[in-house]
């Protein structure tokens, strides 16, 4: 599904990813753990196409296609989805308007017909019910005045609606209480399956109790330094990141 080869990335002359290699197989849930400053969020932004970063070397192949040559919107249409650590508030843009515009833009880019309004409403309401999202929230401006948990649920709603094939979850557990963590995790788990892979970025093992990964990678100094099964997360929880900690926090 996703193959990253020798990825070297810097921002303002500050090298963050140093020849990172990573493979995520079809249908796989891969977790990335690592200390602060190891480059986890940078990796998520570079996969999604944020322009602030300078890619000096390497490739990111999604089903064999190098996404580095594509703009962020083209990557989204190709199936890349980033659930933001801090979803942004957009005053004046209604949530429903936003969802419909995104869905139809992606469909258009893929040469598909736009979804009719009744079909769209049905899809949104179905996804909102599963995530226990109040319909009133859908009428408000996107993320404006939403709590941290509501914003994260809204990210998962977008994921459910857009049906991407490669999802990056950037510290989706941060700012969530126990109930919100359960709801969000159930939302993610419901989307697991063949044809869709996940890269779950987290500091803590607790998220991985809910979204059980197939594989765990440890990241440090802009590289994957260790790979193991789900038990690796438990080991890290017990031993901490001291072994991997970088002095060059980015």
């Amino acid at each position: 599904m996703l193959e990253i080869k020798n990825l070297v990335v810097q921002i303002e002359d500050n090298r963050i990813l140093n020849g990172l290699n990573l493979t995520v197989n079809d249908g796989e849930v891969a977790a990335i753990m690592g200390p602060n400053g190891s480059g986890k969020s940078t990796l998520s932004y570079v996969i999604a196409g944020k322009e602030d970063y300078e890619v000096l070397d390497g490739e990111i192949l999604l089903d064999g296609q190098n996404v580095l040559e594509m703009a962020a919107d083209e990557r989204a249409a190709a199936g890349v989805f980033l659930a933001f650590q801090y979803p942004l508030e957009i005053p004046g843009v209604g949530t429903t308007t936003f969802l419909k515009a995104c869905l139809n833009a992606q469909r258009k880019a893929r040469g598909e017909a736009e979804l009719s309004t009744p079909d769209f409403i049905r899809a949104v309401n179905g996804a909102a019910d599963k995530l226990e999202i109040n319909k009133e929230m859908l009428k408000r401006a996107l993320n404006v005045g939403f709590s941290g948990g509501e914003k994260k649920r809204m990210e998962i709603l977008q994921m459910a609606l857009l049906q991407p094939k490669f999802c990056v979850l950037d510290e989706t557990d941060s700012g969530l209480d126990i109930d919100a963590l359960r709801i969000v995790s159930e939302g993610v788990n419901a989307l697991r399956g063949q044809g869709r892979s996940f890269l779950v970025i987290t500091h803590y093992q607790r998220l991985l109790n809910h979204i059980v990964p197939d594989v765990v990678h440890v990241m440090s100094k802009g590289q994957i330094v260790k790979t193991g099964g789900k038990e690796l997360a438990l080991e890290l929880e017990a031993s901490g990141y001291a072994e991997y900690r970088t002095s060059e926090a980015a």
């Binding site: 999604a48 196409g49 944020k50 322009e51 602030d52 703009a71 962020a72 919107d73 990557r75 989204a76 249409a77 989805f81 980033l82 933001f84 979803p87 942004l88 957009i90 005053p91 004046g92 843009v93 936003f98 515009a101 995104c102 869905l103 833009a105 992606q106 880019a109 401006a141 977008q158 857009l162």
Partner: protein, 440 residues
């Protein structure tokens, strides 16, 4: 030291000549203090950047030649021009149609005016010596403004609109101003609106003309909002790209009066909309919003003076600017709170989104407060579209141009949301969308 006499510009000399000619036709009419107004104007001349109030909108430089007052068009020419008019065209309203600044009775709904409202063409009001004319120029400071005084001096047509006490007509009145022709001309119209106690009245105003038409409209709207009365006003400037459009709104608001006025500008090479608010009675609520979307060398100026002279007035002024190409936006906003106007609550804001490096925004907010128990504030922001927001939208599949349009629409929309009349609000949003679509 030798005496220094400012040389008059060709346009100023031209205006003097034109006034000499025009005064012949006004000789018999004495209600309008034209002579006084023109003498005032002559003393100041066309204001240049050396005049503080016109520092960023130099009319002396912009108006190279004085365009002659427009003749009344033929009915056929007026019909052809109105057939092209788009502003608020789909809305149910009683229309007063002005073509080149002349009221065209045949194209107006003078026989379909809603109950509780009476409309008298200005020329009839002048010939009858209508008592309402004593209410002209309801805000003293406007009489010190050369643009407003020029309007008074050359005043050619307009209307007097009276709304009876307690009347709440559902249908708005639409003042439809359309320009047409091949040669340069100027216009000077004045509409006086008197809203009786506890009445509620909605007014739509659109200004438009074809691209390339060099016209200099100077329109004034005088409004007296009676006690507990409500005035809702939605204005649309979609003038052609060669128009120099000057306008003045003077509002006197009596006790517990409510005002909502929203102006959207996308037209004219240069426009200046002057708003004078005189809060004369206690417990008023005044919302003054404006939005301008400008491109290719356009300049739009919104100049506001809110003068609070009575207790407990609430004022909310919000202006939004979208500057594309090498366009310039100018906002000058001043709130005066007189000593008697305790518990005034005023907030004024001007926000600008610069879409290019070449665009300019001039913000000049001022507060002059003489009362000690007030809550007044102002703010001004200016910046490029937020890259993080753009990335968020693009990461969900929206192409950059679509993402930027969505952000621009949301930004401007905040000023337009204040329009209560659903159809008028939709018309402004439609104009915003059309502007964005044309931008591509």
């Amino acid at each position: 030291m030798a005496d220094v006499t400012n040389l008059r510009s060709p346009a100023e000399a031209g205006l003097s000549k034109l006034f000499e000619t025009a005064r012949q036709s006004f000789a018999s009419e004495t209600t309008i203090a034209r002579e006084e107004a023109f003498r005032f104007f002559e003393a100041t001349g066309l204001p240049s950047r050396r005049v503080e109030a016109f520092k960023y909108t130099d009319l002396r430089a912009a108006i190279a030649e004085a365009a002659p007052p427009a003749e009344a068009p033929s009915l056929d020419a007026a019909k052809a021009a109105v057939a092209q008019a788009k502003g608020f065209s789909g809305l149910e309203a009683a229309r007063l149609t002005f073509v080149n600044g002349h009221l065209i009775r045949e194209l107006s709904d003078l026989d379909k005016i809603p109950a509780g409202v009476t409309i008298l063409p200005l020329n009839d009001a002048l010939s009858q010596g209508d008592t309402a004319l004593t209410q002209l120029a309801p805000v003293p400071q406007a009489r010190e403004n050369p643009v407003y005084q020029l309007n008074t001096a050359f005043l050619a047509d307009g209307a007097v609109i009276r709304v009876a006490p307690g009347a709440k007509p559902e249908q708005p009145i639409h003042l439809r101003f359309v320009g047409t022709g091949n040669t340069p001309f100027s216009t000077a119209t004045r509409v006086l609106v008197q809203i009786g106690e506890d009445a509620a009245f909605s007014l739509l105003e659109s200004h438009e003309g074809p691209n390339g038409l060099t016209c200099q409209p100077n329109d004034a709207l005088d409004v007296v909002v009676g006690p507990k009365a409500v005035f809702r006003h939605t204005r649309l400037n979609i003038e052609g790209d060669a128009a120099i459009a000057l306008s003045t709104l003077s509002l006197k608001v009596e006790a517990e009066g409510q005002v909502e006025t929203v102006n959207l500008v996308t037209g004219a090479v240069l426009s200046r909309h002057q708003i004078y608010v005189h809060v004369a009675g206690e417990g008023t609520n005044v919302v003054v919003n404006g939005a301008a979307m400008l491109r290719r060398g356009q300049l739009a100026d919104s100049t506001l003076l809110a003068d609070h002279a009575a207790v407990g007035g609430v004022g909310r002024e919000q202006f939004k600017w979208i500057i594309d190409g090498d366009a310039t936006g100018v906002f000058q906003g001043k709130i005066i709170v007189r000593q008697a106007a305790q518990q005034t609550d005023g907030k004024m804001k001007s926000d600008c989104l610069l879409l290019t490096d070449e665009g300019q925004m001039m913000n000049k907010p001022e507060l002059e407060i003489f009362a000690d128990d007030v809550a007044c504030g102002h703010g001004a922001t200016c910046g490029a579209p937020d890259e993080d927001l753009l990335f968020y939208l693009m990461a969900r599949g929206l192409p950059r141009a679509t993402a930027e349009s969505l952000l621009v629409q949301a930004f401007v929309g905040e000023a337009v949301e204040a329009v209560t009349h659903e159809g008028a609000r939709a018309a402004l949003i439609g104009e915003i969308e059309a502007w964005l679509k044309a931008r591509g």
